[in-house]
């Protein structure tokens, strides 16, 4: 692993073809269906613990991950199912984790908030809000040292952007020109707290100026817009240009987590309905001019995969009690 040995590859973002876009639609649908199922299982008491679905935000997951290679890394949050699936995380083992089975990605220890699939460059959901940003910085440092041209993308929310870790990480990445992309999904709420109250700037992307890094705000419901902004940041990162901050304005259609209704104490049905009109799946389907039949075909294929994953998970043995004491040390 020679230090800065290899020359950095300059990667020109590819232009999306119709086939690409179709794949992106399909991926968003995979996320949507997976999370609908997860929510259903959660309500039925079959998935335990803390579960946060990202329904409504699928364009962020898919737009970003489409711009990455397999060797690139992502680090995500408590709301990470979408990112996981978009990055290629194996769905059966992911469902097994949610159902607490021995075959789960985390061996039934981490659950929804800690899904990871290192084999796919998915370095984990991290449930401490903001904790993944310093980690991404360190991964970027490693990638720079090995001169591999790999990039690390860290997902975080509007709420997380107020953690000190954001500041320290952005500064570190900027001074060292690390290949790290800070992707902020501004879904307008941190639990019940609106971004306008929590955050002193209108566009979180403005904060990039404090680090001499580029910052852009994109439509987080438009998978192509997300892809393009990410592809540009990836190019820059691979060329040694350092970090970028991308803010995607988006919305979660469901409640924050367990027990939180879709609307109620802190947001109105009208607001949710308004955003639902901009469902990222609808937008992508419209771009693709998908017919009802085509949509059905997508759905059928996705559900087949999903049912396979569920079958795998349900058919897997429970974790043994002794396994709860393993892997504490390497």
């Amino acid at each position: 692993m020679a230090t800065r040995a290899k020359k950095r590859r300059s990667a020109k973002p590819k232009r999306l073809t119709k086939k690409d876009l179709n794949a992106m639609y399909r991926n968003m649908l995979r996320i949507r269906r997976f999370e609908e199922k997860t929510d259903e299982f959660f309500m039925a008491g079959r998935v335990k613990g803390a579960v946060h679905v990202s329904i409504g935000q699928e364009a962020c997951s898919v737009g970003v991950c489409t711009a990455l290679n397999d060797e690139d890394a992502i680090l995500t949050t408590h709301r990470g199912h979408g990112h996981s699936i978009a990055k290629g995380t194996r769905m059966p083992e992911m469902m097994a984790e949610l159902l607490g089975k021995s075959t789960g990605l985390c061996k039934a220890r981490g659950g929804s908030m800690h899904i990871a699939d290192i084999s796919k460059g998915h370095y984990g959901a991290h449930s401490i809000v903001g904790a993944n940003m310093p980690m991404a910085t360190g991964m970027g440092l490693a990638y720079q040292l090995e001169g591999s041209g790999r990039v690390a993308v860290v997902f975080f929310g509007d709420g997380a952007s107020n953690q000190g870790s954001f500041h320290e990480s952005m500064n570190l990445c900027a001074i060292w020109k690390l290949p790290v992309i800070f992707f902020c999904e501004n879904n307008h709420y941190a639990v019940s707290y609106h971004v306008e109250r929590s955050t002193s700037v209108k566009d979180i992307s403005v904060r990039a100026q404090g680090y001499n890094a580029p910052g852009v705000t994109v439509d987080g419901m438009d998978v192509v817009a997300v892809y393009e902004a990410t592809a540009e940041a990836v190019r820059r990162a691979r060329e040694g240009g350092g970090p970028s901050l991308i803010e995607a304005k988006t919305y979660r259609f469901f409640g924050h987590s367990r027990g939180d209704p879709q609307f109620g104490p802190y947001r109105t049905k009208e607001e949710v309905d308004e955003w639902r009109k901009r469902d990222p799946l609808t937008i992508a389907a419209d771009m693709l001019k998908l017919t009802e039949a085509q949509k059905k075909a997508h759905l059928k294929a996705v559900d087949k995969e999903l049912n396979g994953a569920i079958d795998f998970a349900e058919g897997s043995p429970e974790a043994t009690l002794e396994s709860a004491l393993e892997d504490v040390y390497a």
Partner: protein, 326 residues
């Protein structure tokens, strides 16, 4: 006596103390709607959003701001949504709040309360289930309360708010919905006084927070076999009433300490060390400790149950101390 839940008892303490002293203010993530565990319910409506305010996700900043507001004469209560997140605020709590009075020559005091839910049982996994009380016990200048029932929750919270020192109040998540008798009107429980929650003569079970209930259940089990267990709850860990704990052990000659934190360097380590110092000549068996097994707390219910201490663990440890074959 009327029965209310642990959460209701805490909420009541807030209402009463905020009425009593307008310098009491509340800050934390989602406290206005009391969205997570409900302790701060109704406070924002009643006292206004100046005194009860939602904060950004900035644990370091809000605990530090709590320290500052306390330095300026207010009596802030800062909620940390899960005890695990307090790791982000160790500096303001330990390097500042606990030391400022001393370090600045007694020129000011820091009447800050940080309250936070600790412990497992809700399948939230490794980073949302920890019991870290022992850390804070080591630091001169900060007090630690760990109530185990609604009456103590109210009484200790009122004490904490009136205390001129920084106080950490640890509320176990599994206690929140537990009901119990709480006296009407002012009810203040002094710090540093352990409570004998059940009398017995054969062995002393010392329980920390929620684990008091495992001790009580174990005492029931042991009772069926003719063993009379005394259950003692220290209630505050700093100050720690080693006198009452040792007194019980001098009577029963045997002692088991039950906590939900990890064994090595846990609350039980200190209690064991202190009790053996004070009651050495009375001990007929080694002091035993029951604690979480040596792994992070996994989220899956069976695994979580396995790692956390349970009643059977307490019964077994007690029998071992009594030389009864299990």
């Amino acid at each position: 006596m009327r029965e209310i839940t642990f959460v209701e008892a805490l909420t009541e303490a807030h209402h009463e103390e905020m009425e009593r002293d307008e310098r009491v203010i509340v800050m934390g993530e989602d406290v206005e709607l009391a969205y997570v565990f409900g302790v701060t319910k109704g406070l924002a409506e009643k006292f206004g959003r100046d005194r009860v305010r939602d904060t950004p996700i900035s644990e370091l900043g809000i605990v530090g701001a709590g320290v500052g507001a306390a330095m300026a004469g207010y009596r802030p209560i800062v909620e940390i949504m899960f005890m695990d997140f307090i790791m982000l605020a160790m500096d303001p709590l330990i390097n500042q709040a606990a030391k400022l009075r001393y370090m600045l020559g007694g020129q000011l005091s820091v009447p800050l309360v940080v309250r936070t839910p600790g412990g497992g049982g809700v399948q939230y996994g490794p980073t949302h289930s920890q019991c870290l009380e022992a850390w804070f016990m080591q630091i001169p200048g900060i007090k630690v309360a760990a109530p185990s029932d609604p009456a103590d929750a109210k009484g200790l919270m009122c004490s904490a708010i009136r205390d001129d020192n920084p106080v950490l109040v640890v509320e176990h998540k599994m206690l929140y919905k537990m009901k119990g008798p709480v006296p009407e009107g002012e009810h203040v429980t002094p710090f540093g006084q352990a409570a004998v929650k059940r009398e017995g003569g054969d062995i002393t079970l010392i329980g920390v927070g929620y684990q008091v209930h495992n001790c009580l259940a174990a005492a029931d089990e042991l009772g069926k076999e003719g063993i009379s267990a005394e259950v003692v709850d220290p209630r505050t860990l700093a100050p720690l009433d080693t006198g009452t704990l040792a007194e019980s052990v001098r009577k029963t000659n045997r002692c088991i300490i039950v906590e939900e934190g990890h064994l090595r360097s846990g609350v039980g380590s200190e209690i064991s060390a202190a009790v053996q110092e004070e009651a050495f000549d009375y001990l007929d068996a080694p002091i035993g400790r029951v604690a979480a097994l040596d792994a992070p707390i996994p989220f899956e219910p069976r695994l979580e149950d396995f790692v956390l201490p349970n009643t059977a663990n307490v019964v077994d440890a007690a029998k071992k101390a009594l030389g009864v074959t299990v």
